[in-house]
């Protein structure tokens, strides 16, 4: 022990070493600990600042529009970027003439978010209606069947990779493949089948007022419309909803399935029991898909047609909050137009945060009971 004690004592210099065993235990300042604490706390604080900045910047920049329109913004469907001059009409609908000249009135720019809220809600809901049943079915297949066929691994990888495909790629596919196909085949086929079914005329015709008379005209089928947007959205959220549902169903304890099977349940009945057991997690998966769909920008911008009007027809072009921002923000002049767009961004932010928080609570609460 004493042979190379010098090497050891040199090797283990203690800041407070006083030679013998009776060293004192004085506290010394730990520069490293202080630095690490500073860096880590600082970085974490930056995350808080990020959220704060996000909300604050959107709120202050949108303030002119918030002040001007208030909550009425959310239910107004007017979106006029520029001033409009048009003939003044009296109560009877007649153009007012004065000294042989038509009297013009100036209509101020007006902004309302209802069309984009409608567009966002409608496209997301249609997408969910298509994607959720498919995803649940596929998730059941992945959990209950695929492992026995030894294809769970490749299938899961495929789905996870497809979840990682950027929305731009889906957009290009939608724009160049799906939209032309819808325009040339699907749209006309549906129209031919359903056009004369009573009560479905609204799908193919719209009423417009031209020169004081109401005219019904067919909606041109362009392929770039609500239907195409919803379909692309549905395809985009399939991977994420499937993989989250799969994780939720995987977390259902084996005993639950075996218990039902032991009671004589059929395969499908035990699946129903599984779905019921994981229902809140599955709801979370749906919410996650909803959040994804609502915030989706690039693909939807490329295929939804970008028309800022409410039309119930699936063949009419529409607009979502995100696509409106992508289309107009760059060109918007400072002032009310930009403030209104920021108001839309704020609504979009609040909405998707809400969906995300709900989804996370439900999924995380179920899938990992340890839940740090």
């Amino acid at each position: 022990m004493t042979t190379d004690a010098s090497a050891i004592s040199a090797a283990a210099p203690s800041p407070n070493a006083s030679g013998g065993p009776a060293r004192s235990l004085r506290r010394s300042f730990r520069f490293g600990d202080a630095m690490l604490g500073l860096v880590c706390r600082g970085s974490a604080a930056i995350i808080a600042l990020m959220l704060g900045a996000l909300v604050l910047v959107l709120l202050t920049s949108a303030m002119p529009a918030i002040k001007q329109f208030g909550l009425g913004f959310l239910v107004s469907s007017e979106w006029r970027v520029n001033e409009l001059e048009r003939p003044l009409k009296d109560a009877a609908g007649q153009v007012v003439m004065e000294d042989g000249e038509i009297v013009m009135e100036t209509i101020k720019p007006a902004f309302g978010a209802l069309p984009v809220i409608y567009g966002t809600a409608m496209s997301s809901l249609i997408a969910l209606a298509i994607a959720v049943p498919l995803s649940f079915g596929a998730a059941l297949f992945l959990v209950r069947v695929a492992p026995t066929l030894r294809i769970a691994g490749p299938l899961s990888f495929l789905i996870e990779f497809l979840a990682a495909i950027p929305s731009l790629a889906y957009g290009i596919w939608g724009l160049f493949v799906l939209a032309p196909f819808l325009q040339s085949h699907v749209g006309p086929a549906i129209k031919a089948t359903l056009e004369n079914v009573p009560g479905l005329r609204w799908m193919f015709y719209e009423s417009v007022t031209i020169a004081g008379t109401v005219v019904e005209r067919p909606i041109p089928i362009t392929g770039r419309d609500m239907l195409c947007g919803s379909l692309v959205l549905a395809i985009m959220i399939l991977p994420i909803v499937t993989s989250v549902s799969r994780d939720v169903l995987k977390a259902v304890p084996r005993t639950q399935i075996e218990g039902t099977l032991a009671l004589g349940a059929t395969w499908w009945q035990s699946c129903v029991a599984m779905l019921r057991y994981g229902r809140s997690g599955l709801f979370g998966a749906v919410m996650l898909g909803l959040a994804r769909a609502a915030g989706e920008t690039m693909a939807i911008t490329m295929v939804i047609g970008n028309n800022n009007q409410i039309n119930p027809s699936p063949f009419a072009p529409a607009q979502t909050m995100a696509s409106l921002l992508a289309n107009e923000f760059a060109e918007a002049s400072e002032g009310l137009h930009q403030a209104s767009l920021l108001y839309v961004a704020l609504v979009l932010l609040v909405m998707s945060l809400l969906f995300n928080v709900i989804a996370r609570r439900l999924v995380v609460g179920k899938a990992s009971p340890a839940g740090h």
Partner: protein, 294 residues
Amino acid sequence: MASARFETRRLTSDAMFGVCAACAAVIVTLLLLVSGYLVFIGAGAINLSFFTDVPTGDVAQPGGMRHAIEGTLILLALAAAIGVPLGVASGVYLSEYSHEWLFASPMRFIADVLTGVPSIVVGILGYELVVVPVSRWTSNSVSFSGYAGAAALAFIMIPIVARTTEEMLRLVPKTYREGSLALGASKAQTVLRVVLPSAFGSISTGIMLAIARVAGETAPLLFTALGSRLLTRDPSEPFPSLTLQIYTYATGPYPEQKNLAWAGILVLLAILFVVNLLIRVVASRHAATRMGKS
């Protein structure tokens, strides 16, 4: 009577089994259809000049996308330079200082919330927070810049990296920390010498995933980097990016440019596929060695 009911139940079950299998088949088909189109059309459009040439200005012979590929790489490097250290440090905080729950729990929640911010909103934030103030300072008309784009991408990366880092650090056995502390290591030494190195593999996997995720982002760059047709390496200028260039070409009127867009998407997908595959291989090998040894 009862057996007839059982028969119905069995038939229902078989039918639903078929439905589930069909669902899986439909999803796989759809997704293969999408990726198949992207790959085949893209493969037809790609050639060497795509990687070596810059835009010519001639719509019939639009050149290549070298500027955009380089631009994306530079943007990603800048974004990672900001986002990775901040994200990892925050992740360390969330995991190693979680006893400060009064601060740590809200931070974790906020990080979760931030991962759900729509990317277009991040782009708008970048515009309002970087582009507009810089324009004021420099009295430029509008100072779109690569820096603004990188900041927007970093904004998306930070919460993802933070949460992955935290989760990976939580998988590091508690005994490592106790062992190190019991030997008289300080907290910083324990974290930097034992905890972080033992999670190095999984954390770098998480970082790669986060980078891959932002590599495909377009919306945050629309109002920040703006895009450019020039081969520029100066991030204080409007900056090219692969995704922005693809978007511009795809939505433009010229078929030659649309062709380039297809090729660009293929390149982007190929990069993402390789990264994902690598991550999966590395992660599974990592998991295997861990399992084997513990």
